[in-house]
């Protein structure tokens, strides 16, 4: 039969055909678009205005999300820059940032030494605040992706063993006394190696979705044991505290150099995932359905997993292991946007940035001695997650 000829699937005519077989009243308005449809029904007779066109026009669009969720992280960053022992007001912070961007000199009568205020913002606080925002945004987004492709509310950026792999990489570099840059590189390399290993283990089975999570758990515990081994043999006076500190996560050692190294990988992965937002929707519905819809499930899921893993690995390499952000942030975001990745991904990025930025503020401002951020995210994240479950807000 000729496939190219007449399409066997003619567009159905709306109107006389509706609701014939199933005996449902087709005249009832779809919920949530009451006014739009009511307005449309009066002109239902007019040619050219079909009810489906009315429906499309009446759909609620969350356009207010865009400015809000662009503004929130910027605001969080600026406010965070004011926090610290040396007090700098919010307007001055804005001026200092502006001066830095435009390259002009910051002058002010309010400070005994304006250059000190300038340096405080640009070289001490800004790298740290930007780092916590980027890491938070990355972990939030990666978590949203993992939860979708595994269809599992407990999946996180660390599900495939990135955190323990990276922890092992960092620990080994610290024990060998390598420089900061090498420690970071080693963390990224081993983080991604653990994901590769997880894939290799899981590729033996055709039910790759469940097997992947299982393989991730196995590889994760393997690296966790190796980290314990390194801790055991490490010099307890000097190296061990460094390793422990790294494993608990911290932004205190962050610098712009550290950020610049990871930025290309980070940006590419974020862009790839943002481009994949509709595909992620289809993937999150189910393997069989996605395949029938014409999606190459294995390939597209692997692209998403690799991109999200890269983000997680580079995030961990900057800050050490910070748990719970990748689980809590996507759930928070889903409460606002629903499951649709076209909105969920940008909002997860934005909320993740705000969330970790604020938590890092708490870490450095609450006490004179700094609290490890991985500890705080756990202490805040677990009750938050319990709250979601309790309130049935886990929009699943």
């Amino acid at each position: 039969m000729e496939r190219m000829g007449e399409s066997p699937d003619k567009r159905p005519e709306t109107g006389p055909d509706t609701g014939r077989a199933d005996g449902e009243a087709p005249q009832r308005a779809p919920e949530g678009t009451g006014t739009a449809v009511a307005a449309g029904s009066s002109e239902a007779g007019t040619p050219g205005v079909s009810r489906s066109a009315e429906f499309v026009r009446g759909r609620r669009r969350m356009t207010w999300l865009v400015p809000l969720f662009v503004a929130l992280p910027i605001l969080a960053v600026l406010v965070s820059l004011t926090i610290g022992v040396y007090s700098i007001s919010l307007p001055d912070v804005c001026r200092i940032v502006w001066c830095g961007i435009t390259g002009t000199k910051f002058t002010s009568d309010a400070y005994a030494n304006p250059q000190l205020a300038y340096n405080m913002v640009w070289t001490v606080r800004l790298p740290r605040v930007v780092a916590s925002s980027l890491v938070g945004a990355g972990l939030g987004m990666a978590g949203a992706v993992f939860q979708g492709v595994f269809r599992n509310p407990l999946a996180s950026p660390y599900t495939l063993g990135v955190s323990n792999g990276a922890g092992f990489g960092a620990a080994i570099a610290i024990v060998l006394g390598l420089s900061m840059g090498f420690t970071q590189g080693s963390a990224i390399a081993f983080g991604l190696a653990s994901v590769a290993l997880t894939f290799a283990v899981a590729s033996r089975s055709s039910r790759s979705n469940v097997t992947l999570v299982l393989a991730g758990m196995l590889i994760s515990s393997l690296f966790s044991s190796l980290v314990s081994l390194i801790k055991f043999v490490a010099d307890p006076a000097e190296k061990l505290p460094q390793i422990v500190y790294w494993l608990m996560g911290s932004f205190s050692e962050v610098s712009f150099d550290k950020l610049v190294t990871i930025l290309p990988l980070y940006v590419v992965s974020v862009v790839v995932l943002l481009c994949y937002r509709w595909r992620l929707n289809v993937l999150s519905v189910g393997d069989v359905e996605a395949r029938s819809f014409g999606v190459n499930v294995t390939r597209d899921r692997n692209v998403a997993i690799v991109a999200a893993s890269v983000i997680s690995a580079v995030a961990v390499s900057v800050s050490g292991i910070i748990g719970w952000v990748g689980i809590v942030v996507p759930h928070l975001a889903r409460m606002i946007t629903g499951p649709d990745y076209r909105r969920l991904l940008p909002v997860s990025l934005s909320l993740g940035a705000v969330y970790l930025c604020v938590i890092d503020d708490v870490c450095r401002a609450l006490t004179t001695a700094e609290i490890p951020i991985g500890v705080v995210t756990g202490i805040i994240g677990v009750p938050l997650f319990l709250f979601f479950i309790y309130k049935k807000k886990v929009n699943w």
């Binding site: 039969m1 496939r3 399409s7 066997p8 699937d9 003619k10 567009r11 159905p12 709306t14 055909d17 509706t18 609701g19 014939r20 077989a21 199933d22 005996g23 449902e24 009243a25 087709p26 009832r28 308005a29 779809p30 919920e31 949530g32 678009t33 079909s50 009810r51 489906s52 066109a53 429906f55 499309v56 759909r59 979708g148 269809r151 481009c275 994949y276 937002r277 509709w278 595909r279 929707n281 289809v282 999150s284 519905v285 189910g286 069989v288 359905e289 395949r291 029938s292 819809f293 014409g294 999606v295 190459n296 499930v297 629903g338 499951p339 649709d340 076209r342 929009n395 699943w396």
Partner: protein, 280 residues
Amino acid sequence: MRLTVEDVSFGYDASRKVLQGMTFTYESPDVMCLLGSNGVGKSTLLKCIMGELTPTSGTILIDGRPVRSYSPREMAHRVAYIAQTHTPSFSYKVIDVVTMGRTSRIGYLANPSDSDVQFAYEQLEYLGIERLAERPYTDISGGERQLVMIASALAQQPEALLLDEPTAHLDFGNQFKFVRLVERLRERGMGVLMTTHFPDHALLLGCTTAILTNGGVGAQGPAGQVVTEESLRTIYDIEINIRDIERRRVCIPGSMTDPLGREDRSSGAGKFETGSTRRP
């Protein structure tokens, strides 16, 4: 679209064959029913056709090309497959799920446009369930979910629908409505290839019917010729009576006088055997 299944066998391991020597052809926009007992491999056969499983032997061709050579996107333009059950994990709106059917019709990284959403909504209207459009897919009933999946499949604009026991989870009324829906799809020019447990439906539709047995396809032809008392008895291993009542032909399982086997226990009443335990 022309589907050729030639001597297809499949087994999860070498010792246990789920499918053996299946041979039949299907051409859209026909309606075709596949009848067979539990465990005879109806679902497995559909999964092989969709390329989800690879047959251990035999060939499956669509328009003369092996199904494995089709990209998922090309395949989606030929057939849409709806599994028996779908357990949703996320509370997408119904309209979003139906719009997902457009995925193979839009660019690789594109988002569906307004006209895609409109087309999806028209499929809901066609099925008479447009009132569900803004409802979460997780909150609707199993029967409604089935219709939503059919709407998604229609939004995909394939040449045929591949349905795995579409009436399995429907109530008595919805089962019958579904048969009428298949008739409407036929009028619309949409091919339907479905597995079913109801020989009545095949008779009602008067469609091409193939009978699957453990040893291959028992018979293929118009329902009126293939669905007979003898053939049904072979499939289901019970006595089945086919009667014409007014203008309807119906299948009545069991003896006409002693359906529950109260008088004659020797017929094995109340004991179960399935296709995978019964040997041909």
